[in-house]
Amino acid sequence: MEHWAPASAPATADIGPPPLSVVSRLVRDPKVVGASGFVLVLIVLAVAASLIAPKDPLAQNLLLADVPPAGFSGAEPGYLIGTDGLGRDVLSRVIFGTRVSLTVAFVAAGLACLIGSLLGLLAGYLGGWIDTLISRLVDIWMAFPPVLLSILLVAVLGAGLHSVITAIVVIDWTRFCRVIRTETMGQAQMDYVVAARTIGFARPAILFREIFPNVVPVLIALLTLEMGIAVVVEAILSFVGLSVSSDTPTWGGMIAEGRQLVHEAWWVLAAPLAALFATVVAFNQLGDGLARSLDPVLRR
């Protein structure tokens, strides 16, 4: 290979020390650390629920019904957040409830993201009739009232986690498709894409190696947002009894029961509500922090 002659131009100024790597940046962001810590705790609770929960979530004890949380008069030792109308330990039920919520969050949001983003990338990059087809599909799809669609799906598929997940994926993929399509179209206009064409990279390579990494920050932000939404949707569906069977504790189901006991035993409503709220906030903060750390433009 021919040898390049050394530069005759004066040496350029120093570049300066490299900034922190992505991981170092992430661990320094309190939002990311706090939120991911919380999510990690939730995952541990979900996985090891049977080991961590103090009581059997299904065990009823009518003698100990409506026991208030620790610190209030009438509290019982061993029942930190009290019991519900059937004497079941609220804390244990909340802990077991994370299983359902997290499963839905990761699986439903993940699938919606996968399907929607893929179609969005193709529509945004290929344009032409593919874009028209996908965009019209999204428009028509989004015209269906989501609540009606969920109920319809559950009626057809039968109540249970699988129908909740299907309902969320079927409805929310359009959100990903729209946003990712716009983002992809924006990136496709950039000169670095033209440069890749000039160098002779093939079209699929340009889409996945050049454009996709620049779409990832938006995708992650949207994904974590969607996780929060999925958790809430599941809670709504189990609130109306369309989710898993009433044996399995879910936050939504607990909210439905607690609503009726709100005057005698407010903690039965408050506990799952607080858990729901904290989880959604954690997902959003995580998404916000990740998007900020991963996107060089936002960071400056």
């Binding site: 120093d14 000169d191 033209v194 990279f201 990494p213």
Partner: protein, 274 residues
């Protein structure tokens, strides 16, 4: 005279659907081997579109482009691939022309591997180190990202990327427009050295006539999608044949006090831009 390398004839380009107004109205251009040709025009002149048509990035509605004697106007991507190595481009905005998610090393090494100029990644890396040395960047730049570099450094990376494949022809599209005058001087010097060392044919698009005068042998003046004047820089600047060219030259403010400059040409401009 230099043997022709790139010849464009009667190029007509329009964006959008059929019947959309044309951006280029039958443009001719030729660039000889090792020759530097300036393409100058104001906004809306079509100079950027002309550059893209030469590289096959937009398909002309009419006209031909020939490279080394072969007609390349209607080639599909696959047939065009071997040509890609021989025709390269440097962009105006190095911020958007360098993928912010790729290291500089990746930006330079991948093209080398794609065109088989190195046997493996290690050899490609060595080659890239050589190019970085040549353009005056530290070797450690391979591990950096574009946003860590200054404007002038980024533009050097752009130049490195354009020449690493040892092309025959390079299109430089307004490459110094956003740079300070001292950085501009460095970048242009580097480009001049490289074009003469590598015997590159260079098409230099710019709105700045003074820059073009300094580095180009020939100049093509464009206005509203047409070539208004064309010829050796010496001749065009000394005795412009077209009123428009004369107006352009006259509008350049030289860094010296000239009390009559502002008033000169007022009536000509008023007529031309009415």
């Amino acid at each position: 005279m230099a043997e022709d390398l790139l010849v464009a004839r009667g190029l007509v380009v329009s964006y959008g659907r059929h019947g959309a107004p044309a951006v280029l109205h039958g443009v001719d251009l030729r660039v000889g081997k090792g020759e530097t040709v300036g393409i100058v025009g104001e906004s809306g002149s079509g100079k950027t579109t002309l550059g893209r048509a030469l590289l096959g990035l937009v398909r002309p509605a009419a006209g031909t482009v020939a490279f080394a004697g072969d007609d390349i106007t209607a080639l599909d991507e696959r047939s065009r691939h071997p040509l890609r190595r021989r025709m390269q481009m440097i962009f105006q905005d190095p911020m958007s022309s360098l993928n912010p998610r790729h290291t500089i090393g990746r930006i330079l090494i991948e093209p080398v591997l794609l065109h088989g100029l190195a046997d493996d990644r290690q050899a490609a890396r060595t080659l890239v180190h050589g190019v970085l040395d040549r353009v005056g960047l530290a070797r450690g730049t391979v591990d950096r990202y574009s946003y860590e570099l200054s404007g002038g450094q980024r533009q050097r990376v752009g130049i490195a990327r354009a020449v690493v494949l040892r092309p025959d022809f390079v299109l430089a599209d307004e490459i110094v427009s956003g740079l300070d005058v001292s950085t501009q001087a460095q970048v242009l010097r580097l480009l001049q050295e490289l074009t003469s060392e590598m015997h590159l044919a260079l098409a230099f698009i710019s709105h700045d006539l003074s820059v073009i005068r300094s580095i180009c042998q020939r100049v093509v003046v464009m206005r509203d999608g047409r070539v208004v004047e064309e010829g050796a820089c010496e001749r065009v600047f000394a005795a412009p044949a077209s009123d428009y060219t004369r107006m352009l030259i006259d509008a350049i403010p030289l860094p010296e006090v000239d009390p009559g400059w502002l008033a000169r040409g007022a009536s000509v401009e008023a007529a031309a831009t009415a």
